[in-house]
């Protein structure tokens, strides 16, 4: 893994010394805060709450459509520049002439994106801490919910990395990624539209909302994890091949 750590560190530094990560963090937290606030006020006005539908489950589970919409905005914006910018400015030339393998370049950059994604989510732990002041929080559910979000983020960022490697334009990378991830999201919505059958099962299987609903109930479905892992691995593998192919351009 020649250079993995060096690339990872530079990439994290590069993300946080430019406004991009901070802008995304701000937008993300404003949106999440609004979603969380409306969920809390909704629950506060309810007379009677059953055991397995607390605000935490609602935030990560039933109402996860809001949360996923913000991810459709944040993930593509986070990953759009990762290769496109290097190729546009020509820094890819000094990067790839260092003694590094394409795999470590791709993994180093991707790990930095995933770390930044996790850091953006980190402040939302405060919501749970706040809830704990007034009620009981099931930490297992919180843990599995964040695991679900990490899985979705990992898959989205992997696809975004691939799209960024396909073009020198950040804007094109952004649009391609949104298109792809929105397509994946809509496919999941198909679960509620189609008649029972193979296609509906497929839709249910790839559904991000379904994943969050399961994980927010503390159900760690291995199929979901395998799906996220497959999308991530496939995206990164193809990206590595794309990076390798630039030598023959």
């Amino acid at each position: 893994m020649n250079g993995f750590l060096a690339i990872y560190r530079r990439e994290v530094l590069g993300l946080w010394v430019t406004p991009l990560a901070w802008v995304l963090l701000t937008v993300f937290l404003v949106l999440q805060g609004a979603i969380f606030y409306s969920i809390i006020t909704h629950f506060a006005s309810m007379a009677d709450v059953s055991v397995d539908t607390g605000p935490v489950q609602a935030y990560f589970g039933q109402e996860s459509i809001f949360l996923l919409m913000t991810l459709l905005l944040v993930c593509p914006a986070l990953s759009m520049r990762v290769f496109a910018e290097e190729r546009r400015s020509g820094t890819i030339e000094s990067l790839l002439t260092a003694p590094v393998t394409p795999a470590s370049v791709v993994l180093g950059k991707y790990a930095a994106l995933l770390t930044t994604y996790a850091l953006i989510w980190l402040p939302t732990l405060l919501y749970v801490v706040i809830l704990r002041k007034t009620g009981v929080v099931d930490w297992g559910v919180v843990g599995s919910s964040y695991l679900g979000l990490l899985g979705i983020g990992a898959a989205y960022l992997s696809l975004g990395t691939l799209m960024s490697a396909m073009t020198k334009s950040q804007l094109v990378a952004l649009l391609l990624t949104i298109f792809l991830e929105f397509g994946l999201f809509i496919l999941g919505v198909g679960e509620y539209i189609f008649d029972p059958g193979l296609f509906r099962d497929l839709c249910a299987h790839v559904s991000m909302m379904g994943q969050m609903e399961d994980f927010s109930k503390g159900i760690l479905d291995l199929r979901r994890i395998v799906f996220d892992g497959t999308v991530t691995a496939l995206g990164l593998f193809v990206t590595t091949r794309v990076v390798d192919s630039w030598r023959w351009g």
Partner: protein, 327 residues
Amino acid sequence: MIEVSNLTKDYGTVVAVRDLSFSVGKGEIVGFLGPNGAGKSTTLRVLAGFLGATSGRVRIAGHDIAEAPLAARRALGYMPESAPLYPELRVVEYLQFRARLKEVPRAKQSAAIGSAMERAGVGHMAGTVIGHLSKGYRQRVALADALVSDPPLLILDEPTAGLDPNQIREVRALIKGLGGDRTVLLSTHILSEVEATCERALVIDRGRLVAEGTIEELRARQHSSTLSVRVRDPNASAEATIGRISGLNLQSVNADPGSADRRTLLITLNEGLEPETAIETLVRALTEAGIGIHALIPEQASLEQIFSELTAHEKMATGAAEPGADS
């Protein structure tokens, strides 16, 4: 240090480098010379491992770049054309990243970065954000990057492009000063650069090697030389006298503005004619014709002339062979 044999690189239908072979020995400073678009950058990118060769072999410090790419890249410091850098980082942060990437041992990193910045003349800019630097300083940061792992081989693509004359002088002095057993291959389209820094030059045109050798050897290849003669010619018989000597061609006659009978003659020598013999014959003939010689200056063809001659000849040759060679 560098061995290139039968290197060919094409971009789809465009052949950028054709059947190029050359070698650079340890400790040499070699200029890679050619007009814009001759294939210099492409060749250097192949050597640096950024582009793959279509065919042919390249060995860097004994490592085949196709079989042992990492070992080959470890042995070289490469400075790409136009010095691309990350604008958001500080100079020292960038060099730290590059030192880690190039596997400089942790204990030696800060010393290596310090000495690279010192040599490239950016020591006082360590804390400056790269995006705020001028073109000249960015170029030097890229040079420091190439030096940071203290590689035995440096490949510099137009290291002085975009610099002001003072900076150019500094960079040239730096390259010459690297010396020792370090090998340097630098590309340029400016001939005086080769003259100032390099021991040997490779001239490339349209992806082919058209000449190779020391500056003196290249000079010796000149196809014609010129004599400038200032004379007092009261009878205006110089033209006729020179016309009688075989091998000499009168290029131009300029009357001195001050006096009517003083003129400057520009004479070119035919190929193959020894300049010494030509001068002897010329002086004797002029004196016999009663023409007073005030000055006789053999004009050495400049590298620019040699260069344009070399590349022009190549153009004629390939121009004839083009349809067959390209299809």
